[in-house]
């Protein structure tokens, strides 16, 4: 297993370089030089040039002019030489920023790493409870409806799922906010930093749970149905085991592979937060930051977040594979 993990970690290197290349092409080559935008409508050419130099837009995409780099090595030493080398092209600068996790400053001059760190906590406080609660609810309900398959309960649940899936996410937010926060005054309408965040995240958590019920329940119901039709379930019932024992001890355990895949692969998204919920309820998390950066075309922040997201997905994919062996001994690493 150790050899497998080491091999997978080594595979991550070309994947990360590939991700860096893609984000570079997306945000720098296609996104283009945004110096004019940073400088503002009335900026003169010199100000734009200054900004271009600060963000490295004045450098070639890939090719490094080696003469000044050599000179820097000679005159200012190794450290300055390396700095000059990595500043020599836009891609190398992009590469250096990513691997050192020093993404520089956003368009509003705040440090990007600071922005991201500040956003992780609020995002997690919203997404983790929402995710865990919806997971427990959907899996329990899925087991129940799978057990009651073919009955009116099952049919009604499927219809409800389709309805929930058909309602746009934004509608849940707008109606939830209007009715439960404004009309009934049960929750805060919007996050207020002078009050604890726990008050403000309850309603978005509830909305998130309701909105995720439809797709979640449909998915887990299918998974459970696949298992519940298996021979061993019939055998278990024939042996006289109770429904509770069959469902929770046998069916649930055998359905763990798709559940683990779904759960572990969802974890990176938890860090990223919820774009719409954070935006409408003012939760200052990474989802909010993402929307703001897209609207403001802040490629520096988007680039950093895309890279971090890709890195998390790569890491969690590895964790998923490890988890397979943990939950199902049939799985072996070669």
């Amino acid at each position: 297993m150790t050899a497998y993990i080491i091999r997978r970690l080594l595979y991550m290197i070309p994947i990360v370089v590939g991700v860096l290349l893609i984000t570079f092409v997306l945000f720098t080559v296609i996104g283009g030089d945004i110096s004019q935008q940073i400088a503002g409508k009335n900026a003169d050419a010199e100000t734009v040039a200054e900004i271009r130099a600060e963000y490295g837009f004045d450098k070639p995409y890939f090719k490094v002019e080696m003469a000044p780099v050599r000179e820097s090595f000679k005159e200012d030493g190794f450290k300055a030489g390396m700095k000059s080398f990595f500043e020599g092209s836009q891609f190398l600068r992009h590469f250096k920023n990513a691997v050192t996790f020093n993404f520089g400053r956003a368009m509003d001059r705040q440090k990007i790493s600071e922005k991201i760190l500040q956003g992780v906590g609020p995002s997690l406080s919203l997404t983790v409870p929402m995710f865990i609660a919806s997971l427990i609810i959907t899996i329990s309900l899925a087991l129940a409806v799978a057990f009651l398959r073919g009955t009116a309960w099952d049919f009604g649940t499927v219809v409800l799922c389709v309805i929930l899936m058909s309602v746009p996410y934004l509608s849940f937010i707008i109606f939830g906010q209007y009715i439960f926060a404004y009309k009934l005054d049960l929750f805060p309408i919007y996050y207020n930093p002078t009050e604890p965040m726990s008050f403000s995240v309850i309603l978005p958590i509830l909305i998130g749970i309701v909105a995720s019920l439809g797709p979640g329940l449909r998915f887990y119901r299918t998974v459970m149905l696949d298992e519940i039709r298996s021979d061993y379930v019939r055998t278990a019932f024939a042996k006289g085991l109770t429904a509770r024992v069959v469902l929770f001890k046998h069916v649930l355990k055998n359905a763990m592979i798709p559940i683990v895949t779904n759960v572990v692969m969802s974890l990176p998204r938890l860090v990223l937060g919820s774009l719409l919920l954070e935006r409408f309820f003012g939760i200052p998390g990474l989802g909010y930051l993402m929307v703001e950066s897209i609207a403001g075309r802040d490629f520096f922040v988007l680039n950093a977040m895309t890279f971090m997201m890709a890195l998390l997905i790569v890491i969690f994919t590895l964790l998923t594979d490890i988890c397979y062996a943990w939950v199902d001994p049939r799985v072996k690493f070669e």
Binding site: K41, E54, A133, I174, A181, N192, T194, V201, G282, P329
Partner: protein
């Protein structure tokens, strides 16, 4: 990875699934509970003004402030030499940090300004003992040098280019300076045209007369003094550590979320104005005349970028005042009378309407081969556009038809401009003009492209509206929707054919509107995104820009406006009329279109505010 047929489960989960569930439940409960700590701790509230900010605050560095919210918040902490009187209309300049109006030489080239004595910066760790030192004239010189310093990348340099003796040379020096940081520049270099004669006297020498210097520069927060100690101490982080002389100081700024100001203990104090405009006394705006200000202990802004929560919070009484969003207009205003409906009156809300000196247009790129040389085509488009309908549909009727481009409220606004028919809606005439246009073009007019500065519903509907009007007269119009930065980039580089845009006056002088049509201000180095060129207008502008306010100048402005309109460089659509709502407890509120930093005059009746929830309950029961 392979799957074996081994069904011998080790049963880890079997043993530990209960623990897993428990852990999950704990996490669920603990994570929100973990955020039970307040992000911004609050003490005794005192009188608090509550504001909504619909866009995030960009910077608190005065030298780079250009957007509305940076200036709104910044002007509470930073003060300029002059300001507009809070109540008097027409707008009147009064001293703020200056001790009286400037002494101006006969040739209008030298301004001598005395500065108030005893003004202190707020206490801040950047000062040796943490105590704010006294303001001197050198702090103003430092502020202007920061704007000129290319390393600060200030958005405000355009206002000073070619205006003050020696300032452009200082900028040239910073361009050649080898370092990359603004604080490494030698700020001790003297600028002949911007000097501290002594601790409390400032002298400004101009290259040529600049009659708008006070309005355009010296009332603006960008020229507010800033102590060099603050830059030396905070360096790049000065954007979030303001050190000013104003009535408030920053207590908390959670970016994209929350801003809180508290009273600056070092502020010298001021009295509420005793004079205003006719009607101010009756409106209760002079009831606090002569009382010491500020009234409020704190000013709080919450950043809410979505309209629904912002509106709901206002209706709940969590904001003192608010504009009216398009989607909330019908539920707030009686469409027939354009006054508040009964529900809002029942809530004790007041409506303030005022002219915003702005103009919105569909601009023609005069460099475009189809439009630039075809005046009948441009005129046909102007005739094809129904402005009144646009204002009804898209602004809920909150606007005036733009017969020209100088906005109502400016002294050079020509009340008779409608007589010249530049804004006439006449599809029949448009069709006839199109025939003429086709002759000029040498064939049928190809499809035109209009660029909209956004991809939201408002922009889409506005684009579709234009498309419909164009097709009515036989013109094919494609509409491109782009995000603001892309749009801006293309607009300033002359890559758009027709573009939807607008501008608001920064001070009560129409010269900035006229500048938009002067050759030397072609984008990107100026605001002429039409790329309009007319040597006669250029010459008249050179004459007008150095003239002091007079009847002759007014006539010249009006003549230039008509000359430009005769060339049809744009479809000028509307001048905005702003509607602002204020709760009954919000006092001394008089909208001001040019000044920021007015929260020191404002106050709230806390008893009335705290009774609002009860009032809402009563209203609900009545229903």
């Amino acid at each position: 990875m392979t799957t074996s047929n081994n069904f011998n489960r080790t049963g880890f989960l079997q043993k530990h699934s209960g623990w897993g569930l428990l852990l999950a439940m704990c996490l669920m409960v603990c994570l929100p509970a973990g955020c039970a700590k307040k992000d911004v701790p609050t003490e005794d509230e005192g009188m608090v003004l509550r504001r909504c900010m619909l866009s995030k605050l960009r910077t608190l560095d005065p030298c780079d402030m250009r957007d509305v919210y940076s200036m709104s918040v910044g002007a509470e902490m930073y003060e300029s030499l002059y300001r507009y009187h809070a109540l008097k209309r027409p707008y009147e300049i009064t001293p703020l940090l200056a001790d009286g109006l400037p002494e101006i030489s006969d040739d209008n080239l030298t301004y001598t300004i005395r500065i108030k004595k005893g003004v202190r910066f707020q206490d801040d760790p950047c000062f040796p003992d943490g105590k704010g030192r006294e303001l001197t004239a050198r702090d103003f010189v430092y502020a202007i040098k920061r704007i000129a310093n290319v390393k600060t990348k200030s958005r405000n340099w355009a206002s000073f280019k070619d205006k003050i003796i020696g300032l452009d040379n200082f900028r040239d020096y910073t361009k050649t300076f080898k370092g990359t940081k603004e604080w490494d520049v030698d700020y001790s270099r003297e600028i002949e045209g911007f000097k501290a004669l002594d601790n409390h006297t400032l002298q400004i020498k101009l290259i040529k007369p600049w009659p708008q210097i006070i309005d355009a520069a010296l009332t603006d927060t960008m020229t507010s003094p800033i102590p060099h100690e603050a830059i030396d101490y905070y360096k790049e982080d000065i954007i979030q550590h303001p050190v000013g002389t104003g009535p408030f100081r920053l207590k908390a700024w959670r970016r994209g979320c929350y801003v809180e100001l508290v009273r600056n203990e070092n502020w010298r104090g001021e009295l509420y104005p005793s004079e205003g405009s006719p009607g101010d006394r009756e409106a209760g705006l002079l009831e606090d005349a002569g009382k010491p200000i500020p009234f409020a202990d704190r000013v709080v802004w919450r950043v809410i970028q979505e309209t629904q929560p912002a509106w709901l919070l206002f209706m709940r009484g969590e904001f003192d005042s608010m504009g009216i969003f398009k989607d909330n207009f019908d539920g707030t205003i009686n469409v027939q009378t354009h006054e508040l409906n009964d529900e809002m009156i029942g809530r004790g809300v007041a409506l303030k309407k005022f002219n915003d000196p702005s103009v919105f247009w569909i601009g023609f790129n005069m460099k475009d081969p189809v439009l630039g040389k075809n005046k009948p085509l441009r005129k046909a488009i102007c005739r094809a556009y129904n402005r009144e309908r646009y204002i009804d549909l898209f602004n809920n009727g909150r606007g005036h038809v733009a017969h020209g481009f100088v906005a109502p409220g400016l002294d050079s606004y020509d009340a008779d401009i409608h007589k010249y028919d530049y804004s006439k809606y006449d599809p029949q005439e448009a069709r006839e003009l199109l025939k003429e246009a086709e002759e000029v073009h040498g064939g049928p007019i190809p499809p035109l492209t209009l660029s909209m500065p956004g991809t939201d519903t408002f922009n889409r509907q506005s684009g579709q509206y234009a498309q419909r009007l164009f097709s009515k007269v036989g013109l094919e119009l494609n509409v491109e929707y782009m995000d603001w930065p892309t749009y801006l980039d293309k607009m300033v580089n002359g890559d758009l054919q027709l573009f939807f845009s607008g501008v608001s006056a920064g001070y009560p002088d129409a010269i900035d509107f006229l500048k938009m049509f002067v050759t030397k201000y072609h984008a990107p180095n100026g605001g002429n995104a039409f790329f309009y060129s007319n040597s006669e207008i250029d010459a008249l502008h050179d004459k007008a820009e150095v003239m002091l306010p007079s009847e002759e100048r007014l006539e010249l402005y009006r003549k230039m406006e008509r000359m430009i309109l005769d060339d049809y460089p744009a479809v000028f659509i509307s001048h905005r009329v702003s509607y602002a709502l204020a709760h009954g407890w919000y006092e001394n509120y008089k909208p001001h279109v040019y000044s920021y930093g007015l929260n020191k005059y404002r106050k709230v009746d806390e008893v009335q505010r705290s009774g609002y929830k009860e009032r809402l309950k009563e209203l609900k029961e009545k229903k």
